[in-house]
């Protein structure tokens, strides 16, 4: 049954690749944003680095969060709502295999987005980055997917299959803006900078910015905030799952 893990991953990817209407926007949305802000204002200095370099970290975070919320949380909510997860749960499938498949897909999407951003930044934004920096940035961004998969799962378990996508969007876009993922935080009004401290995407992006020497605050603080957020999201997701189990179907 170990092979179930591999097959879940493989078929999850196949499913996604065959749905370009979902795949392409998820991949290209952050890239377009980056091209617009990162390349157009690329030479400007922010936090001691060029805008083009700074925004690789923040749009990387933005892309990873999107891929995780929608590719993991919303997708699971939808499959649950349609009775598909339930059909699988009648088998001896290890439930971890199911989650592994979805997580692997969210991380692969995340990795693709980050690599596309590197390519754009280096090719068109004049970004110079050492291999070590790029590798650390890549690892932090892709690993951060876990926190936002948990976030998506929490939303999905409470919002249900029909509103999960809408609610994720309602949270995703304002939260990204307020956390300084679109426009560097220093350019936003002071009150917004205070709000950001309470938002997981802020800590995620600052952790990424630390790698290129443009972050604020100590890395361990951001890691701690991300860890607490992850546990909290998982607890909320689990409570939502338990609540649903008591409900009647059919």
């Amino acid at each position: 049954m170990i092979r179930s893990y591999g097959k879940e991953i493989r078929y999850e990817l196949l499913k996604a690749v065959r749905l370009p209407a979902y795949t392409i926007p998820t991949l290209l949305f952050p890239i377009f944003f980056y091209l617009f802000f990162g390349i157009a204002f690329g030479a400007k200095q922010v936090g001691g680095v060029t805008m083009a370099k700074y925004l690789i970290a923040t749009y990387g975070a933005f892309g990873v969060i999107g891929a995780s919320l929608f590719g993991f949380g919303v997708l699971i909510a939808v499959e649950r709502g349609q009775g598909w997860l339930e059909a699988k749960r009648t088998t001896p499938m290890p439930i971890a295999a199911y989650f592994t498949g979805k997580l692997a897909m969210a991380m692969l999407f995340s990795a693709t987005i980050v690599l596309l951003l590197f390519t754009m930044g280096i090719a068109f934004g004049g970004v110079s980055i050492t291999f070590g920096q790029a590798a650390s940035l890549f690892t932090i961004l892709v690993t951060g997917s876990i926190t936002f998969c948990a976030f998506g799962l929490a939303v999905g378990n409470w919002a249900g299959p029909n509103s999960a996508a809408a609610i994720c969007n309602l949270l995703y876009l304002p939260m990204s803006f307020l956390s300084g993922l679109w426009v560097p935080l220093a350019m936003l009004p002071k009150p917004v900078q205070q709000i950001a401290l309470f938002l997981p995407p802020y800590h995620f992006s600052q952790l990424a910015l630390n790698v290129i020497g443009a972050g604020r605050g100590a890395a361990w603080g951001h890691v701690g905030a991300m860890a607490i957020a992850t546990v909290l999201f998982l607890a909320i997701a689990y409570a939502g799952y338990r609540r649903d189990e008591g409900k009647m179907y059919g």
């Binding site: 749905l19 059909a87 749960r89 009648t90 088998t91 001896p92």
Partner: protein, 241 residues
């Protein structure tokens, strides 16, 4: 009952519900039912919508816990995944991922089981020959139902739970599925199927249990339940009215 297992006194029962109640808030979906599925038999759980059929199936599959009473499959707790290796289930699924091919769906489901049924055999039994490479989304309603049937057989189960397996199917597809279910029973598998088609219960089941508002109203062969009534349908309507 026509296999050696059926007469083995100590073979664990495929499934058993003992004094099971299930409450959802104020609603009592099951009100203390006892139900035994014997090895090698086909049992039909007959009842109107909302009678508690699906709840009973969900409890046997470990998808819901009884409010009181006990449920076992092959002597074990259905909530433990390991006890599900010998059973297969066909549930009512609103939508199945459409961008996987028939063979891919089967390959994935079969991987969940320690000794899966060979792909070719599954394709044959479920009547899916020639459709192996078709995307699920491109199948007709009857073909989709047959894929779900194939998935339920993926682990080569000894016990099959079919929740309204022929709901919404045309007559021809329905009869085809009946034939296959009957064949599996004849090969010694135990089957529990829920239905609100009386003809289905009559055609397939060795034993029929009539469920109404969460309680068992009658139990016996289709002929016994029919009694003096002209058809099973008359008997059923008399019983529930």
């Amino acid at each position: 009952m026509n296999n050696a297992l059926a007469h083995h006194p100590r073979a664990p029962l495929p499934a058993q519900l003992t004094a099971v109640t299930k409450r959802y808030g104020d609603v009592e979906a099951l009100r203390g039912i006892d139900l035994t599925i014997r090895p090698g038999e086909c049992l039909a759980l007959l009842g109107a919508n909302g009678a508690g059929k699906t709840t009973a199936v969900r409890i046997l599959l470990g998808l819901a816990a009884p409010s009181s009473g006990t449920a076992t499959v092959f002597g074990g707790n259905p909530r433990d995944a390991i006890n599900r290796t010998r059973l297969g289930a066909m549930l009512q699924v609103a939508r199945v991922p459409e961008t996987l091919r028939v063979r891919e769906h089967i390959d994935l489901f079969s991987s969940y089981y320690p000794s899966p049924m060979p792909m070719a055999e599954l394709i044959e039994i479920a009547g899916l020959k020639g459709l192996e490479n078709r995307m699920f989304g491109k199948l007709s309603g009857g073909q989709k139902q047959r894929v779900l049937f194939a998935l339920s057989l993926g682990g080569n189960p000894d016990f099959l739970l079919l929740d309204e397996p022929t709901a919404g199917l045309d007559v021809e597809t329905r009869r085809g599925l009946w034939k296959q279910i009957r064949k599996l029973v004849d090969a010694g598998k135990s089957v529990l199927l829920t239905t609100h088609y009386l003809a289905e219960a009559e055609a397939l089941a060795d034993r029929v249990v009539v469920l109404q508002r969460g309680a068992i109203m009658a139990e016996g062969t289709a002929a016994e339940i029919k009694g003096d009534a002209a058809t099973l349908e008359d008997a059923f309507i008399e019983m529930v009215s």
